[in-house]
Subunit: 352 residues, 2 copies
Amino acid sequence: MPEPRIAPARVCRFIHAALERLGLPAEDALTVARLMTQAEVQGSDGHGVIRLVPYARRIRAGGVNVRPHIRIAKEKPAMALLDGDNGMGHLVMQKATQIAIAKARQCGVAWVGARASNHAGPASLYARMALEHDMVGVYYAVGNANHLPPWGGLDMLLSTNPVAVAVPAGEEPPVVLDMATTVAAYGKVKARAQRGEPMPEGWMIDRQGQPLTDPKRAEEGFLLPIGGYKGYGLALVIGLLAGTLNGAAMGSEVIDFNHDDTTPTNTGQAILVIDPDAFGEVAEFKARVDKLVREMRASERLPGVERIWLPGEQSHEKRIANERDGLALSAPLRTQLDSLARELAIPPLADT
Amino acid sequence: MPEPRIAPARVCRFIHAALERLGLPAEDALTVARLMTQAEVQGSDGHGVIRLVPYARRIRAGGVNVRPHIRIAKEKPAMALLDGDNGMGHLVMQKATQIAIAKARQCGVAWVGARASNHAGPASLYARMALEHDMVGVYYAVGNANHLPPWGGLDMLLSTNPVAVAVPAGEEPPVVLDMATTVAAYGKVKARAQRGEPMPEGWMIDRQGQPLTDPKRAEEGFLLPIGGYKGYGLALVIGLLAGTLNGAAMGSEVIDFNHDDTTPTNTGQAILVIDPDAFGEVAEFKARVDKLVREMRASERLPGVERIWLPGEQSHEKRIANERDGLALSAPLRTQLDSLARELAIPPLADT
């Protein structure tokens, strides 16, 4: 039986109602609901609606400040450091990105870091915000649980620290890379566990170095970095830029939000915005991106390869399909959302 | 028989003399010589002295402008775009980095891109320049020959486009990541070919998708990206930021400097400098970096692992050893340098 499709607007209303009931001001609840829905619509299922139940659990445990005073702690013409006051990461990083866009317009380039933030959904959400202004967005974050040891090690001191880069194109979809520095993001492991599907070999190993393919056993092992020591190095320097530089948690300071609902996570994130208008004609730049995209797509292919994808192109197609057809939330997820609705005494998703 | 060790200062004088004889102004020849020697000293053997002979060939063929007018083509408070006038990349990117450091001091963060540049040596050379100012450096470049197809493709439309990130520490060596977005950099393939050593499986495949391990056959195949499609995505977005944004070559526009000595490469590079002083107390930041470095190093280890390395730590130790003991240039490289000395009518390295 195919899963029933649910209009994104309805999912958004449901999340909005849940977050408002959990104590967020209406406007903030709407902001977070929109971003979580956008994540789901673009196919970032590990960072979308699936996160509502753990967010609710954490908020109810007092681990997130539902009425934060998000303030600029430090500022220079092309940078700012936000203190998120332990608010929802979506609120902190939407504000950070708006500031970065405004500063980039003045200075050509701007960087805004955040501390005392929280999980903010998929990295590409914020990098993509620059696209509406014909700008380039680059986002870095410290993940909210350590699943990666240093290369050769066993102590899980690093998270999957993701990077996203969004580059505007002309007629083509924008180029949007959104990647964890591990072979798989932990959100994907969680999604497999929820769907009851095994993981491919190469995603995780156990403490004996053996492949780990059962996502329910994920806590017995750790994720593997891309390119071996290179992925370890990337995870480390992204953490230095998004966490340590901002005075946010890194290494052993990272709070595992899967097991601790009350300690503030002091999550660190950073957004870099570059204004192509400072470099030359924006239309010419976008035409050059189009040309490059088309070159990649037109490449001769290895045997058995049907199509060459550009980064972000599959998300782009999912976004179009999900907006048209509605979202297919898994049965276990819908059951969870129904329980949450009962707990919060809000109408279930089916009646929203 | 062990290779004779040669003092770095002597290697620098030799390169300086060669480049001056090739037409570079004395000061520029010295700048390039110092940076090339520094590359060799830190163990970047694929991007150090080994490049002198191909640089000389290209200069004598007229493919590099030995007296460039390197100018700021576009500028805003936190950015600049340099036109390198087809000069040596070392000159262009040293200037770019100096500008970025000065602008970062004012604005907190700065980004300087370059077009009409050329190969500039290892990425970490420029990222590391920020360290002397207690700043963070991030460097991106478009490589000078395409060895990587888009994921699933056969047309070599991408280079190994490297990234380097340098982060200052306190008592510990700085964290310096310098990586190609391929499993191996092409410079390493060249170094293997010169030393007559095979490559491990996983560095390259041929057009049938089979492992390629003979570095002398490198032109029959292509490099593999790290993390599969992720490394392809990284190579592409780095190229967009370092090349396309600056109006420099990307994709099919990239000139293969192994086979074409005369066409200007229009190489693109970019340097991002972040001033930790804008974010808080620099001493505290560096202490936090130290703490993190020590945590990584102290991790429990997988069986058989003797030591956990931080990115840049092996280069740091090589730098110390090479400065103390001198550089060990391979016999084939010394033979090449002797031939070059004869051609240029300058004293050989042994008499420099």
